[in-house]
């Protein structure tokens, strides 16, 4: 499983989520994440149907979307979601 973190420099919620993700990534070194800036890759808006930033998309090994979260999410809720989809 891989997580796409879609954000933008002007987005306050993205900035608040950044340190939360940094902590999770430090605690789970095997977790695969990728940050995509909406302004640098605007095509993602249509490709992944993005209507809000930040959006966190959980992608399975078959490259299909399993789940997504939007906005300010508590660290514990993120971890629970990651555990739920781990190994997919």
């Amino acid at each position: 499983m891989k997580i796409l973190k879609i954000g933008a420099i002007w987005c306050p919620e993205c900035a608040i989520m950044k340190p939360r993700w940094a902590e999770i990534e430090r605690d789970m070194p095997d977790l695969k994440t990728e940050y995509i800036d909406l302004d640098q890759q605007p095509e993602i808006k249509h490709n992944r149907n993005i209507d809000h930033v930040p959006t966190f998309i959980f992608i399975g090994s078959d490259d299909q979307e399993i789940d997504r979260l939007k906005g300010l999410v508590e660290k514990d809720d993120l971890i629970n979601k990651i555990k739920e989809h781990q190994g997919k």
Binding site: I9, W10, E13, A22, H52, K70, G71, L72, E74, D77
Partner: protein, 398 residues
């Protein structure tokens, strides 16, 4: 003391005693009189004025004396009436204050005004005070209870300007706009890992935000002090507040928390673009290398910009607060004192988040779940305030 002084003092004392014990009671016995103390900025007073005008038409014998409390001389007179009518200290200081003198030590006072008082005052004058068997000077409190669905009867008597400032300030402080802006700055600063930088830059941002808010509310206040007595202003403001509350509730229902975080299909509006640009400036300012004074200046300017734009996102509570505050009869300085209390309590949650960020170099668990709950509570409270301001403004002021 020379003879002339003695003569002058005796004469003055004589005139005083003559007027006090002979002329005034005689006058009072002749015709019933109403002593009406009002503030020109208080809309409840304006309502009572209309009632008194009608009363004067119905009772041609009735003498109505009106005293504008913005004139210091009338304040002294009001104090005399408080003493004469034995008004308890906790009921003093509110407008309108009405004293009815039927002569022969027969009188009654009314603090505040509401439509329910019309018939009470009329009956009291009609029966020449006979409705009070003991002839005492009872206090009739204006009904300050109202029913809310699910909650029941709410009694808001004794809702002082201080309580109003604290309660509405705290509620306003939990708005998502302010929280998200501070969270953004702190998140960028925390990532630097420098506690001193978080403290100084974050502190400047909070101080400037508070100052901008203070100026904004003071401007509203002056506008309402100037125009607030016009009923149309109260009606328009109440409707704006109700609409604002409905928008907050709509946002809650449709799950919108951070409007600028939405990626709309069409073009963004001016405010959204301005906000985004300001956030980009703030992010750059705090991450590139520059001298601290220059950075602080930049952050202060960006804080002014962000807060000015965000005032449009959170004007509901300050609008309601300033309008209600002008309904109290307060001196100009106490208005500014209460606004300061409001802003301090408005900033209190930001200050807590800031102190936690300084101490732990982490951002607290602010989540959309929490911000959504805030917008629901804010929407409901604002809706109640707006409806009360429109239909029962007397309930909001002592």
């Amino acid at each position: 003391m020379n003879l002339y002084k003695k003569l002058f003092l005796s004469l003055a004392l004589g005139i005083y005693l003559f007027v006090t014990f002979l002329i005034l009671p005689a006058k009072a016995q002749a015709r019933p009189e109403v002593y009406f103390f009002f503030s020109p900025t208080c809309h409840v007073c304006a309502e009572e004025k209309i009632f008194l005008d009608q009363l004067a038409g119905e009772f041609p014998d009735l003498i109505i004396n009106r005293f504008d409390l913005t004139r210091p001389v009338n304040f002294g007179l009001l104090r005399e009436y408080y003493q004469r009518y034995e008004v308890p200290a906790d009921k003093q200081g509110s407008t309108p204050a009405t004293f009815i003198d039927l002569g022969s030590e027969n009188g009654r006072y009314f603090i505040g005004y509401g439509p329910s008082l019309d018939s009470v005052i009329k009956e009291y004058i009609l029966t020449a005070g006979q409705t009070d068997n003991d002839g005492s000077k009872p206090f009739i409190p204006v009904e300050r209870k109202f029913s809310l669905p699910f909650i029941g009867e709410v009694d808001i008597s004794g809702f002082s300007p201080l309580m109003l400032s604290v309660a509405v300030g705290v509620l306003d402080g939990f708005n998502a706009c302010a929280m998200v802006a501070l969270g953004f700055l702190l998140a960028v600063l925390v990532s630097s890992g420098m506690r001193r930088k978080v403290f100084i830059v974050g502190g400047v941002f909070i101080l400037v935000s508070g100052a901008v808010y203070y100026l904004f509310i003071s401007a509203w206040l002056n506008l309402f002090l100037f125009l607030g007595y016009l009923q149309i202003i109260t009606t328009v403001i109440s409707i704006i507040i109700i609409l604002f509350a409905l928008f907050l509730l709509k946002d809650y229902i449709s799950g919108v928390v951070c409007k600028i975080c939405d990626v709309p299909a069409g073009k963004e509006g001016f405010f959204t673009r301005a906000q985004r640009k300001l956030f980009i400036y703030m992010s750059r300012l705090t991450t590139i290398k520059m001298s601290l004074p220059l950075m602080l200046l930049g952050v202060a300017l960006v804080a002014i910009g962000i807060n000015t734009v965000e005032l449009f996102c959170s004007f509901g509570f300050p609008l309601a607060y300033t309008k209600i505050l002008t309904s109290y009869d307060l001196s100009p300085w106490s208005h500014y004192f209460y606004i300061l209390v409001y802003v301090i309590f408005y900033m209190i949650d930001d200050f807590i988040i800031f102190m936690i960020a300084v101490a732990t170099l982490r951002i607290t668990k602010v989540s959309d779940k929490y911000l959504k709950a805030v917008s629901l509570i804010s929407g409901i409270v604002l809706l109640i305030l707006g409806i009360l301001m429109l239909f029962r403004p007397d309930l909001l002021v002592i």
